[in-house]
C-alpha cells in the first residue's frame, strides 16, 4: 500500500495496483535518464574530461536531449532482416526486466508484492531477457549482431550459474538465522532477507558471495571487463547493431533498468537494503533514502568499472566463470551447509567465507601475475576459434549468412 500507509488514505485495490504500476514506470524512466547522465559524467571525470556541460545546468538535460533525438530518429529495418524476430526482440528483452520490479523492496513496506519465492522469481524472469537478445541477433541478419548475440547468450548462462549458487548460499544463511527469530520458510523472500540484516549486513557473513555476485552482475549487464558481446571495436556494438531510433532506445532502457535492479538486489542481499547499518531503527522516510544511497554507491562502482578495467578475451571470460567462480561458489555452498548443519555460529560462516575470498583473490593474483603466456595457459583451454572452423567448410562468421 504505497500511498495508503503514507497518507492514511484507503483506496480500492485496483487504484492501488495502478498507482504501483505508475510509480514503477516513472521510477524506471527517471532512473534511465539519471543513469545515462551519471554514466557520462563519471566516465568523463575518470578520464580527465568534463562530460556534457551545455544542455541545462551542468549538462543535466543531456539525457532528455538524447531521448528526443532517439524518438525523432528514423526506425530502420534491414531489408533482409526477419521481420517478426527483429521487431519483437526489443520487447522480449524489455518485458522480463520490467517484471523483476515486482519483488524488489524499497522500504520495509514498499514493494509491489512480497513474493515468497522472490529470489527465484528474479532469476527465472530475468533469464528470459536473453531470448530477446538472441532474437535480435538472429533477426538482424548481420554477422556482427549474430556474433554478439551468441557471445551474450554464452556469457549470460555461464555467469548465471555461479550467481544462482551464491544465492543458494545466502538463502542458507538467511534461513538458519530466520529459524531463530522468524519463519525460516520465508528465506526466499527478498524483503525477509533484508529484514534479517538489521544488525549484521550479509556482506560480513558472505563476503565471497558479494564479490561473486558483483562480478556476475557486471557480466550479466555486459559491463567491462565483460563487455565482449557489445564490444565496439570487435563486433561493432553487438546484437543491437542494426537497431535505430526507439527500438534501440528500448534495448537501452532495458539495460539501464537491469543495471538498477541487479544493483538494488545486491545492495538488498548483502548491504542490508533499507536498514541503517548495525541495528539503529529509522523511520519509513529514511529507509528509502538508505536503499537509494546504497544502490547509488554500487552504481558508481559498476559504472566506474568501465573506465578502470581492460576488456577480457572471450575464452578468458568463459574460463573465469566455469573454472574459477563456479568451484568457489560450490565450495561456499558446501561450507555453509556443513557449518550450519552442525549449528556453527555466524562468525564461523563469515570467517570461512573471508578465507575463501582471500583464496580467490590469491588465485586470481597468481594467475594474472604469471609471466606472459604461463598464467594464460593455466586458465584457458585450447583457443576457441579453430575448433569451429573444423566443421566442414564452415566458419562461425558465415553461420548466419548475409
Amino acid at each position: 500500500m504505497v500511498l495508503s500507509e503514507f497518507a492514511g488514505i484507503s483506496m480500492p485495490n485496483w487504484i492501488d495496483a495502478l498507482l504501483r504500476v505508475i510509480f514503477i514506470v516513472a521510477l524506471m524512466t527517471i532512473n534511465a535518464f539519471a543513469l545515462i547522465y551519471l554514466e557520462r559524467k563519471i566516465l568523463a571525470r575518470l578520464q580527465a574530461r568534463v562530460g556534457p556541460t551545455r544542455t541545462g545546468p551542468m549538462g543535466m538535460l543531456q539525457s532528455i536531449a538524447d531521448a528526443l533525438k532517439l524518438v525523432t530518429k528514423e526506425d530502420v529495418r534491414p531489408i533482409t532482416a526477419d521481420r517478426w524476430a527483429f521487431e519483437l526482440a526489443p520487447y522480449m528483452a524489455f518485458v522480463p526486466v520490467f517484471l523483476v520490479f515486482i519483488p524488489m523492496p524499497f522500504t520495509e513496506t514498499w514493494f509491489v508484492r512480497d513474493l515468497n519465492l522472490g529470489l527465484l522469481f528474479v532469476f527465472g524472469v530475468l533469464g528470459l531477457n536473453i531470448v530477446g537478445v538472441v532474437m535480435a541477433a538472429w533477426g538482424s541478419d548481420n554477422k556482427y549482431a549474430l556474433l554478439g548475440g551468441v557471445r551474450a547468450a554464452a556469457q549470460a548462462i555461464s555467469y548465471e550459474i555461479p550467481m544462482l549458487l551464491i544465492i543458494v548460499a545466502v538463502v542458507m544463511v538467511a534461513a538458519s538465522r530466520l529459524a531463530v527469530d522468524g519463519d525460516a520458510s520465508m528465506a526466499g523472500s527478498i524483503n525477509a532477507i533484508v529484514g534479517d540484516q538489521t544488525t549484521t549486513p550479509y556482506i560480513l557473513l558472505q563476503p565471497l558471495g558479494f564479490v561473486i555476485f558483483l562480478v556476475g552482475t557486471l557480466a550479466e549487464l555486459h559491463r567491462p571487463p565483460f563487455d565482449m558481446p557489445i564490444a565496439e571495436s570487435e563486433v561493432v556494438g553487438g546484437y543491437f547493431v542494426e537497431y535505430s531510433g526507439m527500438r534501440w532506445g528500448i534495448f537501452f532502457l532495458a539495460e539501464y533498468t537491469a543495471l538498477f535492479l541487479l544493483v538494488l538486489l545486491a545492495s538488498s542481499l548483502f548491504l542490508g537494503g533499507w536498514n541503517w547499518p548495525f541495528g539503529a531503527d529509522v523511520g519509513l522516510g529514511l529507509q528509502i533514502v538508505l536503499t537509494m544511497v546504497k544502490t547509488s554507491v554500487m552504481i558508481v562502482l559498476v559504472i566506474g568499472s568501465r573506465a578502470l578495467f581492460p576488456r577480457l578475451r572471450i575464452d578468458q571470460l568463459m574460463a573465469f566463470s566455469w573454472k574459477i567462480l563456479l568451484p568457489f561458489a560450490i565450495v561456499q555452498v558446501l561450507a555453509n551447509g556443513i557449518i550450519l548443519a552442525y549449528g556453527g555460529p555466524d562468525w564461523v560462516v563469515g570467517l570461512v567465507s573471508f578465507a575463501l575470498l582471500a583464496a580467490l583473490g590469491g588465485l586470481v593474483y597468481y594467475l594474472t601475475s604469471q609471466k606472459k603466456g604461463a598464467g594464460a595457459r593455466t586458465v584457458q583451454t585450447r583457443p576457441a576459434t579453430p575448433r569451429v572452423i573444423t566443421a566442414p567448410e564452415v566458419t562461425p562468421v558465415e553461420a548466419g549468412g548475409d
Binding site: 527465484l120 547468450a153 548462462i157 558465415e398
Partner: protein
C-alpha cells in the same frame, strides 16, 4: 465441480489456448528458429498453468531451466547446423500418416479421460495450495535417493555431451 465459471478458469483457458496454439506453431512452423520461439511461448503457457495449479516453485523452475538454458542451447545448435543458409526438408513424406496417427491417439486419450470418473474433491475450494516447504520435505526426505541418482545422471549426461561435442584430436 458445479460452482460456475470462475476467473481462474477463464485465465486457465486463455493460457491453455496460448499454449496449444504455440505448440501447433512448434510442429508446423517452416523455420527452425520460429519453432524454437514458439516453443518458449508454449513453455511459458505451461508455467502459467503450473501457477494456476498453485505450484509456483515449479513454474519458476520451468522458466529458469527451459526458458533460458534449453532455448539457448537450441539456438546454439541451430547456429551450428546453419539452418538459415541451407533450407532443409523439415517434413518427411509420411506427414499425412503422422497427422492421422496423432489424431487417433488424441481421440483415444480424450475418450479415456471422458469415460473415466475422476475422484476429485467435491468443490474446488477444497483443493489446498502446495507450499514450497511441502515440496522440499518430499524431495529431501522420501525421494532423497532418486534425487541423488538424478544428480549423478545429470552430471554424467553433461560429461557425455561434452565428450560428444568436442572435436577429435585430428580435427583440430
Amino acid at each position: 465441480m458445479e460452482d460456475g465459471v470462475t476467473a481462474t478458469q477463464v485465465v486457465f483457458w486463455i493460457l491453455a489456448v496460448v499454449m496449444l496454439v504455440s505448440a501447433i506453431g512448434v510442429v508446423t512452423a517452416g523455420n527452425i528458429v520460429y519453432a524454437a520461439l514458439f516453443f518458449i511461448a508454449a513453455l511459458a503457457g505451461v508455467a502459467g498453468i503450473y501457477l494456476i495449479l498453485t505450484v509456483e516453485f515449479l513454474a519458476l523452475v520451468q522458466l529458469l531451466i527451459y526458458g533460458s538454458a534449453v532455448v539457448i542451447l537450441i539456438l546454439f545448435a541451430l547456429m551450428l547446423t546453419r539452418a538459415r543458409e541451407r533450407p532443409q526438408a523439415l517434413f518427411g513424406r509420411t506427414r499425412p500418416l503422422g497427422i492421422a496417427a496423432s489424431l487417433g491417439l488424441l481421440a483415444a486419450l480424450i475418450g479415456g479421460i471422458v469415460a473415466t470418473t475422476w475422484t476429485t474433491p467435491a468443490t474446488s475450494s477444497a483443493i489446498q495450495s502446495v507450499g514450497l516447504q511441502t515440496i522440499g520435505d518430499a524431495i529431501f526426505t522420501i525421494w532423497i535417493v532418486p534425487f541423488i541418482i538424478v544428480g549423478v545422471l545429470l552430471s554424467i549426461a553433461l560429461d557425455g555431451a561434452i565428450m560428444l561435442a568436442s572435436p577429435d584430436e585430428d580435427e583440430i
